[in-house]
C-alpha cells in the first residue's frame, strides 16, 4: 500500500465531502445521526464479534488490563454510543448562526456567521467509542473528518466505520464525510498531520507524549489537550464543610482523569484545623500525601514533597499539599505550576472570589466547587471532543462551537468605499 497516495486520496475526498456537509441542512445531518444509530443497533452482534477479535489479539500481545478494559465494547457501551448520537442530533445546529449584524455609518451591515472549520483530523488511542463521538460531533458541526484510532482497536473501528458509512449513504450524504483510516501503518499519522492542502485542524486525544509528538511534527494547526495539573485553594474564609467535601471529591472521585485535583493549597491560618481532618479521610481512601515542610509538621504519614511534585500530574491516588500565606501566594504558585487546565478557590469572601476568577489564567476557573466539573457535558455543551489547554481558538471543553469558526458577512445595496 502506498501510504502517501492513500492519505492524499483520503484528504482530497474529505475536502470535497467537507464542502457538501458544510452546506447540508440541519435536518439532513440529524437524519444521518439517527441512521448511524440505527446501523449500530442493527449490527450489535457484528460489532461485538469484531471487538472480540481485537480483545483476543490484545490479550495475546499482553496489553495491560486497563487498556483491555478501555478497548472492550460491552452491550452497555454500544447503547451509550447510540444514545450519544441521538443526544448530538438533539443539540442546536451551530452552523450558519449569524450574530451581531449591525449597520455601520457607511450603510453596510456587518455581522458574523458561524461556519465549519472544513476537514478535521482526529488521532486517538484505544477506546473505540471515540470513533462515534468524533464522527458525530464533526458531522453535526458541518465538518468532514479523517479518524485514526489505535492499532489495537482496528477491527472495532472498521466495524463502526461501516455503520457510519451506511448511515451517511441512507441519508443521502457523501460517505467520505467520515473516513476511518484503514491501515495500522504508523506512517499514516505522519501523512495526516502534514496534509496542509486538505486538512484544516488536527485534534490528538491521548497521552501527553502522543500529543507533544504530534504538535511538534504537525504542519497543520493542532488543538491540544495536554496535562491537567489542577489546584484547589482553601482560603481562610472557606466554609470548612464545603471545603472538605469538595477537595475529597476533586481528588478521589476518579484518579486517572485530567480534571482531578493534583495539588491542594491551603491558607496557613486554617491549616492546623483542616489538614488533620483531611489527612484522615485521604488516608482512609488510600491517597498518598506529599506535603511541604509545614504540612508534614501538621499531619502524620506525609512524605516531603519535592520540586518535581508540584510539576506532576499524578493521575493516581497521590496528592501534593502546600500551605500558603494567602491568596497572593496561592495565585503565584498556581500561575507557576499549573498546566492552566482547571483551578478552584474555596472561600465565602466575595472580593477574593472575584480576584481569583480574574487573575488565575486557566481554561476553567472555579469558586466553591469541584474541579471534576470541568467537562463538556457538565458545562452544557452536550458533548466534547476534548479539553483544550491552548489559549488560541478554543480553551477548555471543546464542543460543537469549538469545531466552528466565525466569518464576516457584509450586506450592502451598492455601497462603495470612499
Amino acid at each position: 500500500m502506498d501510504i502517501k497516495a492513500y492519505m492524499q486520496r483520503l484528504g482530497k475526498q474529505a475536502k470535497q465531502a467537507g464542502r457538501e456537509i458544510s452546506k447540508a441542512q440541519s435536518g439532513k445531518k440529524n437524519t444521518a445521526l439517527f441512521e448511524i444509530a440505527a446501523q449500530l443497533e442493527l449490527h450489535r452482534e457484528f460489532l461485538t464479534a469484531e471487538n472480540q477479535q481485537d480483545l483476543q489479539l490484545g490479550k495475546e500481545k499482553g496489553l495491560d488490563t486497563a487498556l483491555l478494559d478501555r478497548l472492550e465494547l460491552t452491550p452497555a457501551r454500544i447503547s451509550a454510543m447510540i444514545e450519544g448520537l441521538k443526544q448530538i442530533a438533539g443539540l442546536p445546529d451551530p452552523v450558519g448562526e449569524i450574530s451581531q449584524l449591525n449597520y455601520r455609518p457607511s450603510g453596510i451591515q456587518v455581522g458574523q456567521m458561524r461556519v465549519p472549520l472544513g476537514v478535521i483530523g482526529i488521532i486517538y488511542e484505544s477506546r473505540p467509542n471515540v470513533t462515534i463521538d468524533a464522527a458525530a460531533l464533526c458531522l453535526k458541526s458541518g465538518n468532514a473528518c479523517i479518524l485514526r484510532g489505535g492499532s489495537e482497536s482496528i477491527r472495532s473501528n472498521q466495524a463502526i466505520a461501516t455503520c457510519i458509512s451506511k448511515g451517511l449513504e441512507i441519508s443521502g450524504l457523501p460517505k467520505e464525510v467520515v473516513q476511518v483510516i484503514e491501515t495500522v501503518d504508523r506512517d499514516a499519522v505522519g501523512e495526516l498531520i502534514t496534509l496542509n492542502e486538505y486538512v484544516d485542524v488536527i485534534i490528538p486525544r491521548g497521552g501527553k507524549s502522543l500529543i507533544k509528538r504530534i504538535s511538534k511534527q504537525a504542519t497543520i494547526a493542532v488543538i491540544k489537550h495536554l496535562d491537567g495539573i489542577c489546584h484547589v485553594y482553601i482560603d481562610d474564609k472557606a466554609n470548612i464543610d464545603k471545603a472538605i467535601a469538595i477537595v475529597i471529591n476533586a481528588k478521589t472521585h476518579r484518579y486517572g482523569v485530567c480534571n482531578a485535583m493534583e495539588t491542594l493549597l491551603i491558607a496557613e491560618s486554617i491549616a492546623a484545623k483542616v489538614l488533620p481532618l483531611l489527612a484522615e479521610k485521604y488516608t482512609m481512601a488510600g491517597v498518598e500525601l506529599r506535603g511541604c515542610d509545614k504540612t508534614c509538621a501538621l499531619i502524620e504519614n506525609c512524605l516531603t514533597a519535592t520540586e518535581e511534585d508540584w510539576q506532576t500530574e499524578y493521575l493516581a491516588p497521590i496528592l501534593s499539599i502546600k500551605i500558603v500565606a494567602d491568596i497572593d501566594e496561592a495565585i503565584i504558585h498556581i500561575n507557576n505550576y499549573s498546566s492552566a487546565h482547571t483551578e478552584s478557590i474555596i472561600t465565602e469572601d466575595y472580593t477574593l472570589a472575584r480576584r481569583f476568577l480574574r487573575e488565575v489564567d486557566s481554561s476553567s476557573v472555579m469558586v466553591n466547587t469541584s474541579t471534576r466539573f470541568a467537562d463538556g457535558f457538565e458545562y452544557g455543551l452536550g458533548a466534547e471532543i476534548g479539553i483544550s489547554t491552548d489559549k488560541l481558538h478554543a480553551r477548555g471543553p471543546v464542543g460543537l462551537e469549538g469545531l466552528t469558526s466565525l466569518k464576516y458577512i457584509v450586506l450592502g445595496d451598492g455601497q462603495i468605499r470612499q
Copy 2:
C-alpha cells in the same frame, strides 16, 4: 550582544508584565494610552529628527520611493498616531466580559470570561506607525507585547518606544508591557518566534514571503495574514449600475491593498452587455485586462488569462476576468482559486445572495458591496492589527477581541460531582 540571552530576558519581562496588565483596570489602561499620546505630542521634533536619520540612511542604501514613503513620519502621520491612541482608549475594554453565565442542572453556574492571550510578538516591516497601533491594541486588550519593526526604521521605532515607555511609567504600569527590540540583528526574529516559554502568539505583518517564512519556522502559534485574491461575481440578476460602481471601486480605489478585487467573475447572459462598458472604464483608469477566451471575444485590448492569472494577487492595475455560466460555476471557481480573504456577489436575487453567503468559504463574504470594505475600521472594530486568513481563532479583520480568548468560569456553593 548575546541575542539569545537578550531575547530570553525580553520574554521573561514580558510574561511578568503581561500578568500585571492582564489584571489592570480599564481606567488605568486608558490613562496610559492618553499619556503615550501626550508623549508623542511633546516629542514631535525628536520623532521627526530620528525619522529623518532613518530616511537619510534609507536613501543612501538606495531604498525605493514606495518604501521611503511608508517610512516617513510626517506631522500628519504623527497626528494620526496620536488620534489612533485616543480612539483605542475610547473603545470598550474587552477584558473580563462575562457571557452566557447560566445555571446547570447540578446547580453550578457556568459562563465564559474574555481574557488576554498573554504575550504577543509582532513582526512588521517599514511603517513606524505600526509600532503605536500594535502597542495600543495589545495594551488595551491586556496583553504584553514584544515588537520587531523593520531594520530601516530602527531609529524611528526606538524614538516611539521611548514615548511609550514614558507614558506607561507615568501611568504606573510596568514599562515592559511594550518592549521594542533594540537590535537589527536578524537572529532576534528567530529567537522571538521560538520563545515558547514566554510568548503566546506571533503576528507577522508584511509581505507573503515574510509571513510564510515565519509560519514555517515558528514553534509558537501564528495568526497569519497571507494574500488577498478577492473576487466579485456579477450575477445576471445584478443591478447593472450598482455592479459597475462596485467593481470599479473594488479594483481601482487602491491597487496595493489586500482587499482589492483581483478577479472579476460575470454571468454569461449579461457579459455582452456589461463587459464592454466596464472595459472602457478600466482602460481609462489604466487597468490592464486579462480575460478568458469568451471575455477576449467581447472586449478589445484584452490579454488572454493563463492558469497563473487566476492564482495571482496582482496588487497592481491588472484585473483578470472570467465569464461563468452561473453562481455554481462562480462558487466553484472562488473555492478553488480564492485565498479565502474576501468575495462579493452582486445580485438582486434573494435566494442566490443567501446561498453565496453560506457557501463561500472566505473570511469576509459580501452582497452588493465593494471588497474594499473588508477592514477593521469599516467593520466597527475601532482598529485592526491585521486581517487573518486563518480559520482557527480569528478570521478576517483582527481587533481587540482577536487578541483575547475565552476561559470558562464556574460558580458554585459547595457542589461536588456525583
